[in-house]
């Protein structure tokens, strides 16, 4: 779309005529009806519940419909510490969600393990197994931070292309939306991470 076209559209909009593309309409619709999975893991879930209540009112963004079934959800808010016992269930629930699906890692624990990172049974970040779209730092993040994360996700959805080479995963038939579920091994989850979504950072050793 050229700059002149953009100007014409703005002029028309001012006089009450709305022009749009199918892509914009599609993204506008789905970015304003992101239904989260009703799924809380730890204390961040309390903030998530607060965000859905009248004081913070996530309904303003069209996301108040917390679905109890992964079949009806678009967004998984990983709200809290993911233990190694819970990680397979989280990945399996993600696999059961229909495309297009998005993940918000809410709070320090979901991002990296947070204050429990040294724990033997704490997963060091859910992004080791599933692709995370928005990370929200905080311990726990306040409801405003969750709403900001949701707005960032909406922004991301609005910029996705409907056609073309760089269209997102849910529009491509050659990319699977299923991610391998980790199993319990002898001393850790196996595999310890999904190399398709996460690679361990190279440790920086000084003075060697």
């Amino acid at each position: 779309m050229t700059e002149a076209d953009e100007k014409t559209i703005q002029d028309l909009r001012r006089s009450g005529i709305l022009l749009t593309t199918l892509e914009d309409l599609y993204n506008w619709g789905r970015s304003n009806s992101v239904w989260p999975l009703q799924f809380g893991l730890a204390c961040c879930a309390i903030e998530m519940i607060a965000a859905s209540m009248s004081r913070f009112d996530i309904a303003r963004f069209g996301s108040e419909v917390f679905r109890p079934s992964p079949r009806q959800a678009d967004l998984m808010i990983v709200s809290g510490t993911v233990t190694k016992k819970m990680a397979p269930q989280v990945v399996r629930l993600y696999n059961q969600m229909p495309e297009p699906k998005y993940v918000i890692a809410m709070g320090a624990c979901a991002i990296s393990g947070g204050p429990f990172k040294q724990g033997y049974n704490v997963l060091k970040g859910i992004d080791r197994y599933i692709p995370v779209d928005v990370h929200i730092p905080g311990c726990p993040p306040r409801p405003e931070a969750l709403l900001h994360g949701l707005m960032e996700l909406q922004e991301k959805i609005r910029e996705q292309n409907l056609t073309g080479e760089n269209r997102p995963r849910h529009l491509r038939s050659d990319v699977s939306g299923e991610f391998p579920v980790p199993e319990f091994g002898t001393c850790d989850l196996e595999p310890p991470s999904n190399p398709a979504v996460w690679t361990p950072p190279e440790p920086i050793r000084e003075g060697l």
Binding site: V90, R92, E99, P100, S176, G177, V181
Partner: protein
């Protein structure tokens, strides 16, 4: 206006009722054919949707002895059905009706006492 049949609008009503839901269904079908491919898999189509894998067979047998609990439940259940209207109309009832109702309660309570005496209320 000469109306051939007063019921013609029912045909229109039926047609609209049929077409109205079919349009979004057809649009959704067209959308997935053109843009959004289906990606079913064994895990995605699994029946159980709590994140856990289902274990064992869902076709399991129940002990036939549970019929006793069903009967004891019925005693209290039937009693409640009759007791609630009785309680609502209590003030206006003649003495005969109250005596008859107490007799009914006695009969039902006897069944409960019988079940209790036989030890069916023990949890094993």
């Amino acid at each position: 206006m000469d109306n051939p049949s007063p019921y013609w609008f029912l045909v229109v009503f039926g047609a609209v009722a049929l077409v109205f839901p079919l349009i979004p269904l057809a649009l959704a079908r067209l959308w997935f054919l053109v843009f959004s491919p289906q990606k079913p898999s064994k895990e995605k189509n699994a029946v159980y949707e709590c994140g856990l894998e289902s274990k064992g067979d869902s076709w399991m047998q129940m002990k036939i002895h549970y019929y006793l609990y069903a009967i004891v439940f019925l005693i209290v259940d039937v009693e409640a059905v009759f007791l609630i209207p009785f309680a609502a109309a209590y003030a206006a009832l003649p003495v005969g009706a109250i005596v008859a109702m107490l007799f009914f309660v006695l009969l039902v309570a006897e069944g409960l006492v019988w079940a209790w005496g036989r030890g069916f209320l023990e949890w094993k």
